[in-house]
Amino acid sequence: MVRIKEKVIEGLLMTAGMITILTTLGIIWILFSESYGFFKEVHIVDFLSDTQWTPLFAQKHYGILPLLSGTLLVTFIAIMVALPLGIIIAIYLSEYAPANFRNKVKPSLEILAAVPTVVYGFFALTVVTPFLQNFIPGLSTFNALSAGMVMGIMIIPMISSLSEDALTAVPKSLREASYGMGATRFQTAIKVTVPAASSGILVSVILAIGRAIGETMIVTIAAGQQPVFTFDIRQSVETITAYIVQVSLGDVQHGSLEYQTIYAAGITLFLFTFLLNNISYFIKKKYQEKYE
């Protein structure tokens, strides 16, 4: 009896674990099957090379490039904000800050990541953009710059926390060796701890990029819905995610080509994040137990 009960329980637990695999399979199946319909109508070469995306207009074009450029542009701005700040904060917290200061600041910074993204979108649209318009002539109401900057602030803690964990994991003995030879804390950080923690820092940046690419509400609210193939940060752009929202809010017939465009956009997004995830997983596994 007891043995049977044990086996049944193990089976139930395993089923719960299997649900996660079903989720992944479900995502892949749905993205592929729905975009299969799309790619029957639209040639993949057009999809990848046409510089216009106008599925909802009379003159239809299905080039992903404008959405992709919008996504990458906003992501780039976000990383430009979050990368330097995140890494400086991580180095400061791990090498300089007293322990009790660090223990207070770290959870406070993580609040930044806990704020719902719709709130950041509101902030970007109603505070940051009007503020920036004072300095940047030609900055439109919806623009890549504000959305990217605010997104950058949001992902600071992703980079700073994970990088700080990686830096803290560098053995104290290496720091002491460096101090013992007369190096300053800054030199020790740049020449010893940061290189030793580089794989962990890299992973944090890759994960942050993945998060920025998939972020939806900030860009939907603050970057606009103009799929233009541009790298002008003052202009309104549309990201892949914002496009999916745009279609979802509208009244598009299930099974129509317009409807299938959100899956084609979705699969592009999924492939990007999937690739980034696996790169970071690979780096983590390969360099995990470097010390001792």
């Binding site: 995502i27 993205l31 300089y96 030199q187």
Partner: protein, 285 residues
């Protein structure tokens, strides 16, 4: 000698740069909370909390939104907690060495990085269409449950891993079975960490907007949901909707609703941080 002086100056400058950068994020957060408070705090009153949506900003309220959020919170918890904790136990206690365990682990790492909007596409197809839930609370809660599952699983695993093997051995030594050991020893010892993860994941679910838009949740719902199969809206949806209106009155409403949403998020995060600290202090085996 000269180089030492130069190095020391760099060192000191970096110290200040570090303080400034750390403060930058916190100051932005402060600016941004102050702004929203100034815009919205005066709008929060009994009428705002108990009114249905309206075309006139001064008559609109968040009754449907906050009740929807409460529904979603409860239902998502019901679906996600047992599944997430069970999967976490399986991975940590049973599937550690076998191939299935490894596959599930890689898979969870991947799922954790899938953008939330993709979960919306999944939910739209599976729950809304195939299972015919429509754009209901059920469909929304199932979608969000799948979204936060990886967070609960990872938290459960970490909490279980922190339980020392001596505790398991003591239990096995008394003749307990594996499941008895897990149920009576491991889970109680890991409960603080698991609970922390659950609360954080639910706080994430409460703030999500994108997947709910994709499954077709509406911003304008003129009644309070009574059953899990009713249509619904949630606070973030309501905020999004008001933010995209041109009238200034709606922007103020959005700010007021954001205050409510932030209070809820911060309370949940605060409880989680409190639990984490208490648990970490206690777990000095």
């Amino acid at each position: 000698m000269n180089s030492i002086r130069k190095n020391r100056i760099t060192d000191t400058l970096f110290n200040y740069l570090g303080i400034a950068s750390t403060m930058f994020g916190l100051i932005m957060l402060a600016i941004f909370i102050t702004n929203i408070l100034i815009d919205g705090i005066a709008r929060i009153d009994w009428q705002f909390l108990t009114s249905l949506p309206s075309r006139k900003p001064e008559r609109a309220g968040i009754l449907t939104a906050w009740t929807g959020t409460a529904w979603i919170l409860g239902l998502t918890a019901v679906f996600a907690i047992p599944l997430g904790v069970a999967a976490g136990i399986y991975l940590e206690e049973y599937g550690k060495k076998n191939k299935l365990g490894t596959i599930i682990e890689i898979n969870i790492t991947n799922l954790a990085g899938v953008p939330s909007i993709i979960y919306g596409l999944l939910g739209l197809e599976i729950f809304v269409r195939i299972l015919h839930f429509g754009a209901s609370l059920m469909a929304g809660a199932f979608t969000l449950a799948l979204l936060i599952l990886p967070i609960i699983i990872v938290a459960t695993r970490e909490a279980i891993r922190a339980v020392p093997s001596s505790l398991r051995e003591a239990s096995f030594g008394m003749g307990a079975t594996k499941w008895q050991t897990i149920w009576h020893q491991v889970l109680p010892a890991a409960s603080g960490g698991i609970l922390t993860g659950i609360i954080l994941s639910l706080s994430r679910a409460v703030g999500e907007t994108a997947p709910l838009i994709v499954i077709g949740a509406l911003a304008y719902v003129p009644f309070v949901a009574k059953t899990p199969l009713d249509e619904f809206t949630v606070l973030p949806m309501q905020i999004f909707n008001w933010t995209s209106r041109p009238q200034h009155g709606f922007i103020i409403n959005a700010a007021a609703a954001i205050i409510i949403l932030l209070v809820l998020t911060f309370i949940m995060n605060g409880i989680a941080i409190y639990l984490r600290n208490r648990w970490q202090k206690r777990v000095k085996w």
